[in-house]
């Protein structure tokens, strides 16, 4: 069936740079183009977040706050050894413990990689310290914990390995003895199917959705005037959202309700229905407020499976929230990496060859690649990458805010910086030569102005003990789309306007932007709109991963509102005795264009509806002008450029990030306050990745030593730099809202910018993360080697 189309003109380009109009052919039922933001009333403005008061006063209901009648508390017994076969489990004492209502033993693990193993086991093999074995549901957390201590488990211990370098060696203990695969989550970690393993090393993966190798590396390096070859290392970063992973499951004889702290209500629903053999309509998932999610909260998880079984067995609702230690150990992490990078360039800066070989460990999982940034960001005719996963006896990795690309940017943006220094070229000038992205060009210009950037002084030239330095780094992030994004809008005679979708708000402000888009379309205020989301009773929305939500869910929200508006215009036209084309909606009124004194209040029009309510449902339509790939990768990109200024104490190695200027784009910005929140958060997480966060595994015993927030170091107030944001409107004319997300791009460039600034301060480059005082002092040659080394 051919869709009926019409041609409209939409804003295209960057205001004060190359803004123009472009004609696109769009479906006839879609609304006319919005003008640029400064001509809109609600969209693009600083709007306070919906639910902010509830959140700051503690009345918002997070999963951890859910209390149901007769609810039990679930807890899991976790393996104390990193690698073992379980020979026996005797849970009888726990089963008989007063206050215990159910005990369930895992028969498989749903997190991490799946071995293609046909051998039957009584119990899943323990592959990391902290892997869950069984769970109990009891009248309180404390009783559950006491019961767990009574469970007897027999182990047959095996050799283990937790260190990336050790695991790569021949003769290292092997984590998986057969080939493995793993389905990627909606968090966007890149996993190539069907690759073979040798020992613990799986791969290489040589491509991404941007294609495979290009040109001829050898030729490219032969042509090069300058060749730089470096090894970069990044650490494991664990997920530390404010609210840990967790669920409350009310199984209720197969009519299941799951309250979940999740980035994907549909993901939890689908996993639950699959696992328990239920129809999807029998499983309702609710995420009213979610206390943060950075990529690891897309599925049901082992803990969710356990809560399901415990609720099914006990016939009561069961709450199972992970504690902070469990969160560190088992709930996902950004894999570490070792990246061997070689860059060839011509004297004018043009890149002639780039090769990247990487190894990383996602523990017992896959997805330890370093992304596509080296492949995608710069023009380089000769390119090859080989990315390997390495298995270790540690908790599974997970998607983590721009998976792969944060690691990848640390290497790429340092080697580009090094090239600029070698060429004696301004870092921004070099990027003007090698970077064809228009948005990043404008970001470089405007960011540089705000930062007051000029070509940096010679590295390390600052006098004295305390040295200042500046650095810059760029990021690339694709514009991902999920067409399975649906919104329903209901208006009622009493004036209520409801927006309904299963899409969740993980703290980014999705509720608010939905209200803004609908309010703008209907000529109302944000306060007039009730947003009911995070519930799979409503039409399914996208997962909160890949910075996909805003660009996927706001166009159908606007389109559904437009459909409602057309119906209301009919009513208003009848009442005002004019044509619908002669009416505009503004400030809560339907107003006659040629006689503005004649108007009807929005509520008056609604009260005239033939039925109590009218509804409109819209799903995400195709991008205007088509896609770059499939129906999930759009044209355009979410580029960014970040500038950092640091102070380094060369006697103590202490680094202070004084200032970060971030130039970003996300199509049409919908809410500046929330966008700034996202960018602030991305930068703070980037500072943490650059300087502080680091999972410490004990090689001898296989345990994480800092599974807390005492020695797993998060940044607090003193560690947060002054942040200034240059937000650039970048109209792509691709949808009815033309907006995209920004969560991930905000996090990619920060660590590299800081590393470049540290180099500029001290004149010595640090290739390993995090950049601790120990590393700075070692780089400055101030640490005497002790006798052991």
């Amino acid at each position: 069936m051919m869709m009926e189309t019409k041609k409209i003109k939409l804003p295209h380009g960057i205001p004060d740079y190359n803004l123009t109009e472009i004609e696109r052919e769009i479906p006839t039922n879609e609304p006319p183009a919005w003008p640029v933001n400064n001509e809109l009333k609600v969209v693009g403005k600083r709007i306070n977040r919906t639910g902010a008061l509830a959140q700051v006063t503690g009345t918002a209901t997070f999963t951890a706050d859910v209390l149901l009648s007769g609810m039990l508390y679930g807890k899991m017994l976790r393996a104390e050894f990193p690698h073992a076969k379980i020979t026996s489990i005797d849970p009888s004492a726990a089963e008989n413990y007063p206050g215990v209502f159910a005990v369930h033993i895992f028969d498989n693990m749903i997190e991490g990689a799946n071995p293609k193993d046909t051998e039957q086991h009584d119990y899943p093999e323990v592959k990391y310290a902290g892997q869950p074995i069984l769970g109990v549901a009891a009248i309180s957390d404390e009783v559950a914990e006491e019961a767990l201590q009574l469970v007897k488990v027999g182990y047959e211990y095996k050799d283990f390995v937790v260190d990336l370098d050790e695991a790569r060696k021949e003769g290292s203990p092997v984590v998986f003895t057969t080939d493995v695969d793993q389905e990627a989550s909606d968090g966007g970690e890149e996993i190539e199917e069907g690759l073979k393993s040798q020992g613990n090393v799986r791969g290489p993966s040589e491509g991404s959705f941007y294609g495979g190798p290009r040109g001829d590396l050898e030729k490219g390096f032969t042509e090069a005037d300058i060749i730089i070859e470096r090894t970069y290392r990044t650490q494991v970063q664990t997920h530390v959202p404010m609210e840990t992973h967790g669920v409350v499951v009310d199984y209720n004889k197969g009519d299941v309700t799951v309250y979940a702290s999740t980035q994907s209500t549909k993901g939890v629903r689908n996993d639950f229905a699959d696992h328990f053999g239920l129809q999807k309509s029998k499983v309702r998932v609710i995420a009213d407020f979610t206390g943060g999610g950075f990529g690891a909260k897309h599925g049901l998880g082992n803990f969710g499976v356990m809560a399901g079984h415990l609720s099914k067995k006990s016939g009561r609702p069961v709450k199972l929230m992970l504690d902070r230690k469990e969160e560190h150990i088992s709930a996902g992490n950004r894999p570490n990496s070792i990246q061997y990078m070689k860059l060839g360039a011509i004297r004018d800066g043009t890149l002639s060859a780039l090769s990247l070989v990487s190894y990383g460990t996602a523990g017992v999982g896959l997805g330890a690649g370093v992304g596509h940034i080296a492949q995608a960001m710069y023009e380089c005719p000769n390119f090859k990458m080989q990315q390997y996963d390495v298995f270790t006896n540690a908790g599974p990795g997970a998607a983590f805010r721009a998976p792969g690309n944060v690691q990848g940017a640390f290497a790429l943006e340092q080697i580009i910086d090094e090239l600029a220094v070698k060429l004696n070229m301004d870092q921004l000038r070099l990027r003007d030569v090698i970077d064809k992205s228009t948005i990043r060009k404008v970001e470089r210009q405007r960011g540089a102005k705000l930062f007051n950037w000029s070509k940096p002084e010679k590295a390390g030239s600052d006098e004295g003990v305390i040295k200042k330095g500046v650095g810059v780094a760029q990021a690339h992030w694709p514009r991902f789309i999920n067409l399975d994004s649906t919104v329903e809008i209901r208006v009622m005679r009493d004036g209520a306007v409801e927006v309904r979708s299963a899409v969740q708000d993980i703290g980014t402000g999705t509720k608010t932007i939905l209200a803004q888009v609908v309010a703008e379309e209907l000529g109302l205020n944000v306060e007039d709109i009730t947003v009911l989301i995070g519930d799979t009773l409503f039409p399914i929305g996208p997962s909160s991963g890949g910075s996909i939500v805003t660009g996927s869910i706001t166009p159908p929200a606007r389109n559904a509102a437009y459909e409602i508006k057309l119906k209301l215009l009919d009513i208003a036209a009848g009442r005002l005795e004019t044509e619908t084309e002669n009416i505009i909606t503004k400030d809560g009124f339907f107003i006659m264009k040629d006689n503005p004194d004649k108007k009807l209040h929005f509520k008056d029009v609604l009260s005239r509806m033939r039925t109590e309510q009218i509804t409109a449902t819209a799903s995400r339509s195709d991008d205007y002008g088509g896609f770059l790939n499939g129906t999930w990768l759009g044209y355009g990109e979410l580029g960014s450029v970040q500038f950092a200024e640091v102070t380094v104490d060369t006697e103590t190695g202490f680094i202070k990030v004084d200032r970060v200027v971030a130039a970003h784009s996300c199509g049409r910005p919908l809410n500046m306050a929330q966008i700034e929140s996202q960018v602030n958060g991305g930068i703070i997480q980037g500072v943490a990745y650059a300087l502080y966060e680091n999972r410490v595994m004990d090689k001898e015993t296989g345990h994480q030593m800092n599974a807390n927030i005492d020695f797993y170091k998060m940044p607090y107030s003193f560690e947060i730099p002054e942040i200034e944001i240059e937000m650039i409107e970048d109209y792509g004319a691709r949808t009815s809202t033309d907006a995209t997300g920004i969560g991930e791009p905000a996090n990619i460039a920060t660590a590299a910018a800081i590393a470049n600034a540290v180099y500029n301060a001290i004149g010595i480059r640090i290739y390993d993360l995090p950049i601790t005082p120990a590393r700075v002092l070692a780089a400055l040659n101030k640490v005497k080697k002790n006798n052991d080394e």
Binding site: Y692, D698, A774, E789
Partner: protein
């Protein structure tokens, strides 16, 4: 965490009637059941209980004992601080800030504002080490009676660089570093009101003397006060803590210096290092180097290097040596 009963003591006597053990004794693998222990702010104890390392059956709260909240000044004896005063109270006390500046600094920089509101002086001195092997229930370390110090070949970036042969933990109390530099004494009250006064050196127990404890406190004893000797006119003090973060963090290195000056000349000095060894350490070699010298960049540097001459860093913590050298020097120069 295990179940426990809770007793709110209103006097030192009443508290001591209720206790039968020390927190350190409850951590040993062969700890006898039925332990009843003191709880002040509860910062350290609750962490130990949450990890399942300490399982006392009764907590005796000493948070509401008026005697422990007293601050008294005696021309002869000096300033007596009740063991129950909080770090926040120390930080806000004007006399401490004026006369015992290093202690003011140490209290102000310890932990978080929330913790400083709960943590007490006595609890801070009696707390156990934060060594992550000691704090892990999966590691039966030297301090818990075994012969293995996991840090010797393990993850030791935050560990001791002096006196670290048996146990490489570092003492956790920042206040102790400052208090020791003032030559303070500790007043301990035992059963039947028996009071003894010990020096800071006598109070802390090195692991080679007794691996199972960090202080001399026995069951039935309680720290009732810390007595800071009266300061002299020409006395000055300074404290520096260097952490990975400026906000709430454990020190990588810390130093407290107290000197008597004659102009810029150092008549007498006390230099104490924290986060360096299993106990807070008086650096005799640094004192020796600076005593009688005019304090300047050169002499301060010499003293700081002397302090680290005997350092025996482990595989990952040699970086602490230059940090100590820097902060000792800077603390001395800050006195000028």
């Amino acid at each position: 965490m295990n179940k426990f009963s809770f007793f709110e003591a209103t006097s030192v006597e009443e508290a001591l009637e209720q206790v039968n053990s020390t927190v350190s004794a409850t951590i040993q693998p062969n700890a006898s059941p039925g332990a009843s222990v003191l709880k002040a702010g509860g910062i350290d104890l609750l962490d130990l209980m949450k990890e399942g390392l300490s399982k006392p059956e009764k907590l005796v709260s000493i948070n509401n004992i008026p005697q422990l909240k007293e601050i008294t000044f005696d021309e002869k004896k000096g300033l007596s601080l009740g063991a129950g005063i909080t770090l926040a109270e120390i930080s806000a006390n004007a006399r401490i800030k004026a006369d015992y500046f290093a202690l003011h600094q140490a209290a102000s920089k310890a932990a978080t504002p929330q913790i400083r509101n709960m943590a007490t002086l006595g609890g801070n001195l009696a707390q156990r080490t934060r060594c992550w092997y000691f704090r892990s229930k999966y590691h039966e370390c030297y301090r818990k009676g075994s012969s293995t110090c996991f840090a010797q070949i393990g993850e030791n970036e935050y560990h001791a660089i002096l006196v670290n042969a048996d146990c490489a933990s570092v003492h956790a109390s920042s206040l102790a570093t400052a208090i020791m530099a003032f030559d303070a004494a500790i007043e301990i009250t035992g059963k039947e009101g028996k009071v003894k006064i010990v020096s800071m050196n006598e109070f802390f127990v090195s692991p080679d003397v007794d691996r199972k404890r960090e202080t001399i406190l026995e069951a039935g004893e309680i720290i009732t006060a810390v007595i800071l000797p009266k300061v002299k006119e020409n006395m000055k003090s300074h404290y520096i803590k260097m952490g990975e973060r400026e906000s709430n963090d454990w020190p990588l290195a810390e130093v407290a210096v107290v000197v008597e000056l004659n102009g810029e000349k150092c008549k007498k000095a006390n230099i104490v290092l924290g986060a360096v060894a299993p106990v807070p350490l008086v650096s005799e070699s640094a004192i020796e180097a600076i005593k009688g010298q005019t304090i300047n960049e050169q002499t301060a540097r010499a003293a700081s290097i002397a302090a680290m001459t005997n350092a025996t860093p482990l595989s990952q913590n040699a970086y602490k040596v230059p940090i100590f050298e820097t902060i000792i020097k800077r603390a001395l120069l800050a006195l000028l």
